[in-house]
Symmetry: none
Subunit: 224 residues, 2 copies
DNA sequence: GGCTATATGAACTCAGCGTGAACGAATTCA
DNA sequence: TGAATTCGTTCACGCTGAGTTCATATAGCC
């Protein structure tokens, strides 16, 4: 599931947003200004940012600009009380993807977040299916035609990541950044071990497999 | 510049949008309902669609759904007089990327269109096609009409380089500098071997070939 | 024909990967 | 609380195939 960072100096607003987002099974992280947001981004792999503009320390414009300059490409949804054309223009020009004015309709925000994630090819479903393997994010379960497994966390997130972009090759580093966190220092071979354990569970499946791409990484796909 | 298709049954609104879009150097095409839009899409390469929901013949929802089902991935901005949550929800669920309610602020529409195009560009850079050969560089696969190959790293990058500038002759040194690195010390003949392995995979293709230019190098092109 | 550049089959090699086992950490259970 | 189980990680050893080289055949050019 997608990981969303809320940046707003108003705790009540963050709390409200969190409730709505968690109800839709998003993972939520929070920061109260741009500076704090940047430090969160260093430690976690974030899929989308919801940022207020008016904030102490570093405002939403500056945050957006710094992120884009630093090469971050995740969608950014700006939220603010300001609603003049000039404000919106500035927000979009800094690199925001969408813009909503307060008071924010939470339901509409959810729709927009999902549309952004869909466009960015980050799955926002809590159910994934590929080649006879069904993954239930809430229960950490996978269902194959023959069996239901309750997977250990690491194995589950790994499979989930692979299934979120079928056919896309993920390097071990990418997988580790996402599942272990950017600053983790686990051995790259650890990924291999988890892959093997996943493979063992699918060994008898006809339609699904995890493919090794030598020198690059792994990918999930339907068997030929 | 981007080519935008406006779909709305109201000529005046289309005209107004056209003026604003052309002022920003967009290329504008028009259709007055979903059915007409589909026929325009068959003939032209469209980068983004602005669609009204209420239309005779085929409404915006249906158009969006048909487009997504048919595999079109360009951003769609929905514009409508309706503004209930249910309407927005339906629009987004059908696969729209953004949603604005009438009366539309033309300046904001431009900002949103630009943001959508920017985002679409970021995520559509994974494919390359020439003469019936499709190259997917997320999956490291090439698809020919007859088969799909998962290429080894070096072979893939080599083909990718050649296809990035069809008809351009690349010297072995150029190819090596790019794929092996400037300081590499591999034999020039190594390139030949990889070229051969690529050729083997295309041996039965009618439209595509890698041509040797004696004394210079190789180039990729459509067969005569 | 003679020279040079390229094609091609085959052999080699070593980085990258699979895998079993082992051990500590975390979690569950009694 | 301690015991039992499950989970996460590391390590070491062996295998494999992608990448390279080499030797020979073939093709292009004057």
């Amino acid at each position: 599931m997608a990981r969303i960072l809320l940046v707003d100096d108003n705790v009540k607003i963050r709390k409200l947003m969190e409730i709505y987002l968690k109800r839709d099974a998003f993972e939520v992280l929070q920061a109260e200004d741009g500076t704090e947001a940047l430090s969160v981004l260093k430690k976690h792999n974030i899929n989308l940012i919801v940022a207020d503009i008016m904030m102490p320390e570093m405002d939403g414009y500056e945050l957006t600009e710094q992120l884009r300059d630093a090469g971050f490409t995740m969608p950014i949804l700006m939220v603010t009380a300001k609603e003049t054309y000039a404000d919106k223009k500035k927000g979009f020009e800094m690199g925001a993807d969408d813009y909503m004015t307060k008071p924010v309709d939470m339901d509409e925000m959810l729709l927009r977040i999902k549309a952004l994630l869909r466009r960015a090819k980050i799955s926002s479903e809590n159910r994934l299916v590929l080649g006879g393997v069904e993954l239930d994010y809430e229960a950490l379960e996978i269902r194959t035609p023959k069996q239901v497994y309750l997977l250990p966390k690491k194995e589950f997130y790994l499979l989930f990541k692979l299934l979120s972009h079928p056919k896309k090759i993920f390097t071990r580093q990418e997988l580790m950044d996402d599942i272990w966190g950017f600053d983790s220092e686990v051995d790259e071979r650890t990924v291999d071990v988890h892959i093997k354990r996943l493979r063992d569970k699918f060994s008898d499946l006809e339609e699904f497999e995890i493919v090794t791409v030598r020198g690059l990484g792994y990918k999930a796909e339907r068997k030929a």
